[in-house]
């Protein structure tokens, strides 16, 4: 979903640049290396099949919160770029609800049931990490700032099932806006080296 919004923004920005007969240009981001440093622990904990299954659960909050704290520094260093305040606000909202709920993104049992209606009994439990992802299953009543959790789901007619948060929505809009704006001719000229 997030990457889809970015691709849509990129396509729109390139089309905008083509129509305006000028090149699609991106700025040089400050401290971009910090994103790679932040990505590595999450890649090991949630993405790479060889490591995510054996990644110690007690270290998940450290990896997730530490990684997102580094991303926050990166955002602050680049706030002048278009859309970065939305990228940052979405990150802050996600980080806030994660911090207030033990270091993982809360998701309700009802949402999990919607996502995994055919999951075998015992595949997930309230109070436990959901599979090898970033989420922890917590009832709505026990979730702090529930409205910031992974509470949104796509309409039933969409074959792809996913739960996402308000922060994810803001990050999607920010990425779309950012990539679209680079198709403009002069709005960010001063930031391009």
């Amino acid at each position: 979903m997030l990457l889809g919004a970015a691709l849509a923004g990129l396509a729109g920005g390139m089309l905008w640049a083509a129509l305006g007969r000028h090149p699609y240009q991106v700025p040089v981001l400050r401290w971009a290396w910090l994103v790679l440093v932040a990505f590595i622990p999450q890649f090991l904990a949630f993405v790479l099949p060889a490591t995510r299954a054996s990644f110690p659960t007690v270290w998940i909050p450290v990896a997730l919160v530490g990684s997102q704290a580094l991303l926050l520094i990166f955002v602050l260093m680049n706030l002048r770029q278009p859309g970065f305040w939305l990228l940052g606000l979405g990150l802050v909202l996600n980080l806030l609800v994660i911090l207030l709920n033990g270091g993982m993104m809360p998701i309700s049992p009802e949402t999990v049931q919607h996502l995994y209606p055919d999951a075998p009994f015992g595949a997930w439990q309230v109070g436990q990490r959901l599979g090898v992802g970033k989420d922890i299953v917590i009832s709505i009543a026990d979730t702090r700032l529930w409205f910031l959790s992974d509470r949104f789901i796509l309409p039933g007619w969409v074959p792809y099932k996913v739960a996402f948060s308000l922060g994810d929505v803001l990050i999607s809009i920010g990425a779309f806006w950012l990539l679209l704006s680079f198709g403009g001719s002069s709005s960010h000229k001063e930031n391009i080296a």
Partner: protein, 44 residues
Amino acid sequence: MKKFAADVPLLASRRDARVIFFLLTLAMYIISAGAPDASGGVGL
């Protein structure tokens, strides 16, 4: 060097390389900052 650049169109110019680096950085950011739980993506 010019021949190499011609053989690899994506890296034909410094600007293209910068765009690719920028997109990779942004992709890593949104994967790490976002926390969507996708069906099938958590090993259940």
